[in-house]
């Protein structure tokens, strides 16, 4: 299979405008399409390492970003998104087409594949085991994820932990890492060689940009990893980086609360999340700067004594 960056720009443009660009993202295959010429370069850049899934006759969802029609096109300069051929979401300023594309793909990935338990969490891997970083927007988890990935950790996902029912592992979906506002500069300072796509100011989340996922992470997107740590990050400017252990019931509930579909899956959700938490040491981490946070996490995963010794039990008393 050719990767996106191996095709010429005109070839990519043709596909985007016409039949769409089918990408194997890991557990899902998405088809992207657009007639907006300004999206061509960003798509090539951010998805360059992904193989084109031409051989897949059936995709899981299709996202198209188009200019609005009539007045929306010429006067208001708006774009519209289509999911599986149907108008989706409200029209948006055309200048925000790229974040909108990413957002639409996110939405499809978070709401469709209910055959999996979907947790709202970044996932990165080191030494064969993975670290879950659950967190609301604003917790700094995306900055942290980007920093870890640039420090040699494998990226499984920046937003969603995909867990097959009853499984003891997480499936990768190594898409571009979304960064906003100050975290964009923080990452650029952290690693001058970081490949970051165009910035889009003025979105609901402020200025948004995306870090290209490392080729290695993309190449290993079908390689699951077993979880060993759950860390709830919280960025606090000027704070001293510190890890505080939290109980597994507390971690379970916080993760379940943030999950995309825990309650939909009922007892399967409960059992699957329990299996994951059972295998993890759980912490809350406050951090004031990226470098010390990464150092603290490196130490955590290298220290064998941080693995939970006692598995949970299944009945009271």
């Amino acid at each position: 299979m050719s990767r996106v960056r191996e095709l010429t720009a005109p070839a990519i443009a043709d596909r985007l405008r016409g039949p769409g660009l089918a990408l194997d993202l890991g557990p899902v295959v998405a088809r992207l399409g657009t007639t907006l010429p300004e999206l061509l370069d960003p798509v090539r850049l951010l998805y360059g390492g992904f193989p084109i899934a031409d051989h897949e006759p059936l995709v899981d969802f299709e996202v198209r970003i188009e200019p609005g029609r009539m007045l929306r096109r010429w006067i208001a300069r708006q774009g519209v998104a289509f999911v599986d051929g149907q108008r989706a979401f409200a029209p948006f300023p055309r200048a925000q087409a790229l974040p909108m594309l990413e957002w639409a793909v996110n939405w499809c990935t978070f709401t469709r594949p209910n055959q999996y338990l979907l947790l709202h969490s970044a996932v990165v891997e080191r030494h064969g085991r993975c670290l879950l970083l659950p967190g609301k927007p604003g917790s700094g988890k995306s900055t942290l994820t980007a920093g870890l990935v640039l420090s040699g950790w494998r990226l499984l996902s920046d937003e969603v932990a995909v867990v097959p029912p009853g499984a003891h592992h997480v499936l990768p979906v190594p898409r571009p890492v979304g960064l906003k506002d100050a975290s964009i500069q923080a990452i650029e300072r952290f690693d001058a060689g970081a490949v970051i796509g165009p910035r889009t100011p003025g979105t609901r989340k402020g200025t948004v940009a995306h870090l290209r996922p490392p080729d290695d992470s993309v190449a290993r997107r079908h390689e699951p990893a077993g979880p060993a740590w759950i860390v709830f990050p919280r960025f606090e400017a000027g704070a001293v980086t510190a890890l505080r252990p939290i109980s597994r019931p507390e971690a379970f509930l916080r993760v379940a609360h943030e999950s995309f579909n825990y309650s939909v899956l009922g007892d399967v959700g409960f059992e699957t999340l329990a299996e994951i938490v059972d295998r993890c040491s759980c912490y809350a981490m406050r951090y004031g700067d990226l470098a010390t946070a990464i150092e603290a996490l490196d130490d955590l995963v290298t220290d064998r004594s941080s693995r939970p010794a006692i598995a949970g039990s299944e009945a009271p008393r």
């Binding site: 299709e62 055959q115 009922g266």
Partner: protein, 368 residues
Amino acid sequence: MTGRTDRDLLLGALRDPLCLGRLEIHAWSELLPAARRAGVLARLAHLTQQRGVDDALPPRARQQLAAARPLAEQHARILRWEVSRIRDALSALDVRLVLLKGAAYVLAGLPAGRGRLASDVDVLVPRGRIAEVERALLARGFRSMKLHPYDQRYYRTWSHELPPLRHERRRSVVDVHHTILPLTGRVHPDPEKLLAAAEPLAEPGLWVLSPEDLVLHSATHLFQDGDLGGGLRDLLDLDALLRDFGERRSGFWSQLVPRAESLGLTRPLYYSLRFCRRLLETPVPESTWRAAEQAGRPPRPLPTLMDELVLRAVCPDRDDRRTPGAQAARVVLYARSHWLRMPPWLLAYHLTRKALRAWVPDRDEAKA
């Protein structure tokens, strides 16, 4: 693709899920989005599993169908739990709790309850007991959903139900009906008859409408009560009810039309049977169909016009959507539904207010 439309593909799949084992892969990329658009993917997923054809499907198709089931299962779970809480709340009152629609289908274990996405509970109580029932529910944490004062008035004065009640912690919704069609309508099925014919479930304290009445209620909902947005979903409910009752309940087919006559619902029954037969090949016995035609068929040329409108509104093709035709079809049918509900002067007033409010959303309106 052989030139058939998405609509034909979808209807074919729903009529005969077993043929899906032979469906070519490219047709799946039309079928799955079509099912999603019509809101029936979960139903299709239930059917493929039930007929045992799941294993014969292409892996990615099987996965997408599998992904559609959990939400329907959750909704059924919610319905069962909510019914148990409502029964508990009303246990001190000596009121028969009669379940309607989705709650009835699920609690009675009917095929119509599978693969359905709806978690609001609909119940029917005698009009004279409405105030007590509302009080009992409010005492257990239900709250009247905030509505524009106009809507509150509409509900309490003219409608067939209380304004919906939402539970403050669980966020679940219960609709308490005292009849099944609005009081302003031209047709007034007698709620006493509905209540008298209700059947108890195995679970104590729970009742459902009789089979004929469940079918007739669904028929009115599709063709008279609602705005036809439910379209194919509602037609599938009807088809599932008719097939199941037709098979399991002796006397069902012969009682259906007389019951419709007794309740004044022959017109919606006629349309329901017509479209179920046409679109879903529901096996309605000839004798029943003839009787329904005789009792409920409107004067020509109305049926032909309705055919076209309903077909387009119930099963919009992907291309249809972009044409003004499908939109217009829906608007005409919506206007017709409202016409049946309200006298013309009231209709004009109601529609004008709704149109105005669409442009100036109210602070008071509750979010869904």
